[in-house]
Amino acid sequence: MSSPTSEPLVLARGLTKRFGAATAVDGIDFQVAAGEAFGFLGPNGAGKTTTMRMIGCVSPVTDGSLTVLGMDPRTDGPRIRARLGVVPQQDSLDTELTVEENLLIYGRYFDLSYRESRTRAKELLDFVQLTERAQDAVEPLSGGMKRRLVIARGLINQPDLLLLDEPTTGLDPQARHLLWDRLYRLKQQGVSLILTTHYMDEAEQLCDRLVVMDKARIVAEGSPRGLIDQYATREVLELRFRPEDQAAAEAQLGGLAERIERLPDRYLLYTTDGDAAAVEVHERGLRPDQVLVRRSTLEDVFLRLTGRTLIE
């Protein structure tokens, strides 16, 4: 499946992309190993898609170096693309063709025979649970079905590396969970994948390792657990006050936690023991409208690193 050597599937050093005067990707370093599920977590405009397009050899590198599957995208684009699976941020399905035909012709682009392409299309439609829709037009499919079809299409050449750019953005929760389940299976089968997302739960569930991207740069790197341990406390106490109580409350929060973040609608108190902190809040005579104790997430990591939330 992957190359026998242990060289990284993707290696980027000082990778930079400029569009005119604007810098979309600003000297980032990362590498992805075979068998890994690697993520780019960051808000809109962070430079995730641009990075994915450079890896996918459809966007020339402005500066720095990039190696994909041991080759140079500048000179080996077609050979690299032959071994990649691509799920772009925007679906690019052909609405004039049926579900099955979309896969068939895509297999042909990779020089598969019609027979081979048909066999794989059948298996893949089964895998993404679209077998019943094989002969249907693409247009009436739901957003989640289309996304699954694009994933099936990206697998038709049995790629060494699957690139997923925001695989579940815009889908309802049920469709997202179905998709996560399929992606998790791929991961279990040992398919190497790189995904971008601005959903911290998606990154936590699917990524072995990820980088947090903000404003064209990488601001942190690690496993989801490791990042949380490093940049957040174990628990978070969320407090919401009535607007008229807010000013008075804020003055009394000092010393209750290792760190306190103030969001427009609530306070986040970072502490190892959220319940203990909640008791203390009560003892100080504060009466918040809402009290919630939860585990820290990558959202908290992002907030810590950038002072902003992932989804504005």
Partner: protein
């Protein structure tokens, strides 16, 4: 080449889903034009003083011009809206170029497809001409590649332009200021020599006038070799420039 063939395969697969819708116009256009203009108008022209145009029945004079014009119209239809919507909305070409297929393969494949598409309408058109007795089999067959070349001379530069567009706003403009005027003033309906002297040199560097001239030379006979070389040269030049330009514009739009 292999990759260009894949792009052609895609176009054929897509055509297989839509050809029925276009079938009616493919047949109807030549029948209506030849009936109305050739036979209808022809009765007046042929009945007038000289009897036909330079001794040639009007239908025989007109039909090769309509064949070339029909190729132009088909080319215009295939090279505007489908290309723009393919790159802007369906993202067909983005999907192709995330495989081993390169932008220039897409252009080559589209060129192959245009040849096929133009061949289909031109074969049908010539068949209808034969049916109406507007030409005979030998010249009829020879005119087909001329019609294809004329269509390509339009389609390739327009394809190059269309892929740069994000809406269909410019397409009616192209139709109104290029396609329709050329249809009327390229010698299809009356000899080019009747155009104002000032316009004639302009006409001779446009694709349709040269396509009509070549097709008519074949149909009526007595093809002037020097003129034929000029006609071919102009058509090939439009194709070559269109192909090179399209390679640039596809690359620009797909590789950013």
């Amino acid at each position: 080449m292999n990759h260009a063939i894949r792009v052609l395969e895609y176009q054929l697969l897509s055509y297989r889903r839509t050809w029925r819708g276009g079938l009616f116009t493919t047949f109807l256009a030549p029948v209506m034009f030849l009936l109305a203009m050739g036979l209808g108008l022809g009765t007046f022209v042929d009945g007038s003083a000289g009897g036909g145009l330079g001794g040639v029945p009007y239908l025989v004079f007109l039909a090769p011009g309509l064949l070339a014009s029909n190729a132009m119209q088909t080319a215009a239809g295939e090279s505007m809206y489908p290309i723009m919507s393919g790159i802007t909305w369906n993202r067909i070409y983005q999907a192709m170029t995330s495989t081993p297929i390169r932008p220039r393969d897409v252009v080559a494949g589209l060129a192959l497809w245009l040849v096929v598409r133009l061949a289909i309408v031109s074969v049908v058109f010539v068949a209808v001409m034969l049916l109406f007795g507007a030409t005979s089999i030998g010249p009829g067959v020879l005119m087909i590649p001329v019609a294809i070349l004329t269509g390509l001379a339009f389609a390739l530069p327009i394809v190059a332009f269309s892929v740069t567009q994000r809406t269909d706003a410019m397409f009616p403009v192209i139709n109104r200021f290029i396609i329709v005027p050329l249809f009327i003033f390229s010698g299809t309906f009356f000899p080019l020599e009747q155009l104002p002297a000032l316009l004639q040199p302009i006409a001779w560097v446009t694709p349709l006038a040269n396509g009509v001239s070549l097709a008519r030379g074949i149909a009526i006979g007595g093809l002037d070799p020097a003129l034929a070389v000029w006609n071919l040269g102009v058509l090939v030049a439009y194709c070559a420039v269109g192909l090179a330009w399209a390679s640039r514009t596809f690359h620009r739009r797909l590789v950013q």
